[in-house]
Amino acid sequence: MKRMEITEIIFKVLAYLFLTVFALFCLYPFVYSLSASISGRDAFQTGKVVLFPVDIQFGAFSAVLNTKGFWVSYSNTLFVTFYGTVFSVATSILGAYALSKKRLPFRSLLSFFFVFTLWFSAGLVPQLLNYMGTQELFDIVTKDDKWLVVAAMGMAAFNVILLRNAFEGVSGEIEEAAIVDGATEFQLLKKIYLPMCKSAIATVALFFAISRWNGFFWARQMIRNKNEWPLQVYIRDTLEKIDELDRGDYAPNSLIYAMVVCAVIPILVIYPYIQKYFAKGVSMGGVKE
């Protein structure tokens, strides 16, 4: 009896210790970024900043917030994130709903059509050529490459499958009852499926929003006009030009750290509200039995 208690206590202490260390390990880069962004130049450059800020200044933040390019890129990111998420979530919900129906003719063939893109993709060069062709098409309507990013990039078959599995999990009896009551297809989706699959939809919306917010590679390749660059591209560009940055009472690194903090803040704000959904959504919808 005593031995059991001892191992249990040891294990518990070990668990708390490990989790605390790991949580700090996860948190450290965020804390350091914030501290580095508001520390004084000399203190930072002599390496006095390890965890907490030293010689607090807000010059780096105000410099970032007073740069027009930063706000332009920030609004571009908001634009792409908002329209991109709405576009992706709406099309995915409609498509996944159709795919979840056993009465859909050629259902398995159509499912395979989407799943195949998870296994095989054409690769960088064909994709680049495809996007360039799309760009020419889009140029007829608008020269704004943000629309290209919204429409062409960031669609994920994985999310469609996740939603489809969640929709399949809704019991057919409710649907039959609703059909007897004369519900149309869109009413079924709106009144039954959307409310019952809230956590899966929130998860998918979160995935799409995050990937849109974080999107870098193709935006960097395809957007021609610097005024349409999203935040991630802008940050990377600033990092590459770090040696040319003006230096005031803050180190040039502090400027980058300040941008990083600004880029992460929206995620930190939204994340706690939505995280309760996605743990459920991931473990339920991602794996199909």
Binding site: F11, Y97, N214
Partner: protein
Amino acid sequence: MTNNKQSRESGAVFAPLGDEGKALQNDAGAREALDANEKNYWRNTGKKIFKEWRLYLMLLPLFLIFLFWRYFPLYGLLGAFKINNTTLSEFQRDFVGLKWFRDLMFGSSSAEFWVAFRNTFMLSFYGLLFGFPVPIILALFFNEVKNDVVRSGFQILTYLPKFVSTVVVTTVISLLLKGGSMASDPGVLSKMFKGLGLIGDEAMNGGMLRFPQYFRPVFIVSGIWEAAGYGSIVFFAAIIMIPQSRYEAATIDGADKLAQIRYVVLPGMASTIVIMLVLRIGELLSVGYEKVLLLQYPGTYTETDIVSTFVFRRAGMGSGITNANQALASAADLIAALLSMTLVVGSNFVSKKISKVSLY
């Protein structure tokens, strides 16, 4: 008599014909019926499709998106079998067969390609070796924290890095490790590593990422930082599903904590572990190229170059490329994509066989 004979003869002559005719007629009838059936099949299918036109309408936008931006590019794969000439259009270029593939495997680009291929494999292999156990350990320990508020606090903190962009992650990594070239950049982590005796002076002063030997540890540890917490969700879900009665039974049998983990918890999550392992093996050749691209410096390619970054460079998508060759790049990409697909499909198949669970 003659008549009779005749009739008999005629009978003898015509009877088989008659039978044959009947058989032919029957055959035609069957075929007609079959045709009708087939027609009915198509008509029925058409009717079914027409009846469910709303579902098809709902599916249409998604279908078009994938057709346009996922399937149309597949046509561009033909470029891997054609001459490399970007001034000619896709239709004007001549086929050269497997020239670029030979070039990659045995020819002038083979050294570079195989280095990239090996690095891709090694990066994900070490990532799997060191990264795979961490989420499992995290899940085991999450289970020990019985206070819900404290536990979800830990969970929120550990999931968080997953949602930070690759650009932010790589930016912070380079700054922490002194990836920049400024003399005044402290690089707090590289200083710490120097203090611990892990790296030498020149690495601390010159920027760790400029030295190829540090790339893999940096990539793998930051990968664990990014994904371990998030990866624990599945395992923790599996632990929660273990019925309480099993713990009680084990306790009555005198099992201490370690025995409980050994005989109750680990068997309870065994299937999840196996599935995740199999699926991860399927991803051995798909390393996130964004992160590598943003962390690598010219001159460290012997360790940092993976197939995607090789493709990126040879396709002329970076800056300052002199030996761009889109056809060769496509060929390299195609080899990797085919191997990767084989792995993914194979691992899914295995996962389905052992557990009736697959990701798709």
